[in-house]
């Protein structure tokens, strides 16, 4: 996603001189196309995320559209108060680009896991959050949103090869993408983990289940009416995200269900425990937290067949 995003950004920057790219010394083999095409509009600000967000605030106040690039954890968590008091408080068009949602930097360990970014960003009013599911959608999401007012957080992945079957790069900020219809269970997925969710839906369908799938790509502001409509027509909804259970998509869907008085049960699949200690590949880490295709199928079958299981807060 990150390379598709930067390639698209280069195209946009050809036609709009307000676009700048700042990086916190990350993006080797990713940011070069922009840096080489627009050397005067590219800044490696060093390993200094707080200053990078402050710079972007000052640049945006003077009319520029700065994109700031780093890993998800560093750019969101280290710079968080600068995001809050800078682009959010001033309503400025700073584009915060975080790479590595979930366990994409799995072997790098806990400091590099993007499992809490959406939760902390979602509480900020006026901050748009876009979490593309694959590289095609990352490109179309950027084209559809870069010009809008106010700050945006793009939660990107590293994978520039795989796609989510059936998505075909579609993106509409007003409407989440429906990839399958079903009346027994609705799966809602956020980010690159949507690929495993799509595979799980296929396997469940092959086993005779009617399972729907929606990719929630614009997390904030949430497409409330679309979600309400979809959630009103199923008995069980299952959220899938490479993120802590608290604060992300599972929380969002639970809020919609509770506030709209819907009757469907919500099952949340995500990172339920702090992922410290043993580490491994992305697939290993995802499996450890029930986010492999097999894990998702198992969770879906339990949700389809059984009564409500113990919830997150019971443990």
């Amino acid at each position: 996603m990150r390379r598709a995003f930067i390639r698209t950004l280069v195209d946009l920057a050809e036609d709009d001189e307000r676009i700048l790219l700042l990086t916190g010394d990350l993006g080797y083999t990713v940011v070069e196309p922009f840096a080489e095409r627009f050397p005067a509009r590219f800044f490696n600000v060093g390993v200094a995320e707080q200053n990078m967000l402050g710079l972007a605030t000052g640049l945006a106040e003077s009319g520029f559209i700065p994109f700031v690039y780093s890993m998800t954890t560093f750019i969101v968590l280290r710079a968080y108060e600068f995001i809050r008091n800078g682009p959010v408080a001033h309503g400025l068009p700073v584009r915060i680009v975080g790479v590595g949602g979930g366990f994409e930097y799995a072997s790098a360990g806990f400091t590099h896991f993007g499992v809490d970014d959406v939760g902390v960003m979602r509480v900020q009013p006026g901050l748009t959050i876009v979490a593309p599911a694959d590289h095609e959608q990352a490109a179309s999401a950027l084209r559809a949103t870069w010009r809008q007012e106010g700050p945006i957080y793009y939660r990107l992945g590293k994978d520039d090869v795989s796609t989510v079957p059936g998505l075909n790069g579609r993106f509409d900020p007003q409407r989440p993408q429906t990839l399958a219809d079903g009346h027994e269970l609705l799966i809602l997925a956020m980010g690159a983990i949507a690929r495993q969710a799509e595979e799980a839906v296929k396997q469940l369908a092959a086993a005779g289940h009617s399972v729907g799938l929606i990719v929630v790509d614009t997390v904030s502001p949430p497409p409330l009416e679309r979600l309400r409509h979809a959630l009103a027509s199923v008995p069980v909804a299952m959220t899938v995200e490479a993120h802590y259970l608290v604060g992300g998509l599972g929380s969002l869907v639970s809020e919609v269900v509770a506030e709209r008085g819907l009757t469907c049960r919500v099952v949340r699949c995500g990172v339920a425990t702090m992922p410290v200690g043993r580490t491994g590949s992305e697939a290993y880490m995802a499996a450890q937290h029930g986010l492999s295709t097999e894990g998702l199928v198992a969770s879906a079958l339990r949700a389809l067949n059984g009564p409500a299981e113990a919830g997150h807060y019971d443990s």
Binding site: Q50, G54, T57, G58, A60, E61, N85
Partner: protein, 282 residues
Amino acid sequence: MNKNVVARGRSSVTDRDPATSLPALAKQIRLAILHGSKRANVGHIGSALSVTDILAALYGQVLRVPAPDDPQRDRFILSKGHAALALYAALRARDWIDDETLAGYCRDHTFAGVHPDHHLPGIDFSTGSLGQGLSFGAGAALAAKLSGADRRVYVLLSDAECNEGSVWESVMFAAQHRLSNLVAIVDVNGQQALDHTHRVLDLSPLESRWSAFGWQTHVVDGHDLEQLTATLTCDAASAAPHVVVARTVFGKGVSFMEGQIKWHYMSMNDDEYQLALEQVDR
């Protein structure tokens, strides 16, 4: 509030009214600090009084701001946002806010809180969390350079604010990119919320630290208006950003506040208020 409605000052205070000399402007700001603080029963008096002469120099002469919404204006950022009452008084003197706004300091439904908010005309950036303003200013200065504009950017920091690591991130960036249109002013009043700065994290000699990072340093008496105006109009064509280390007295102008830690947070009783007014207004 519509930022444009009350934006009508088109020249500096002293140009517009020759009777308003810089010392008179400084006195006007000090009196407004005392009035506002007493009326609202809110502290931060000592910090506001220590930057009063710096703000008088900036708003009376140095800043080139035809109107607060002019895109080509010089930018000013009060990074030590807790001195906002002094800034409101300066904005009032420029006619960018009205008496009602100034009198509404810390009242319900006001834009004039303890820390400045950009919804108020003349406030370029909201501040209040120390260590952020210089990064905003570096961005604004970079923007001016990229646009080929001659805008200057002034950022007023406190000495204790330099405890924040993020300040030094911005210091390094501004030097690396030769942001000579950026002027940091450090209000060295030697005090912070709980103690004297040298007893908390001793940063002296502060000017050596900034110059070691590649900044052009200027040391001034932060209450000498002539020295301030001469120094603050820095050479924007130089090769380095500028820092003006302004030696100030915390609580300047009110004898019983000068150098006293308690006037970081305390507000005045009636007797203290009268005495302070007499000392400032003589």
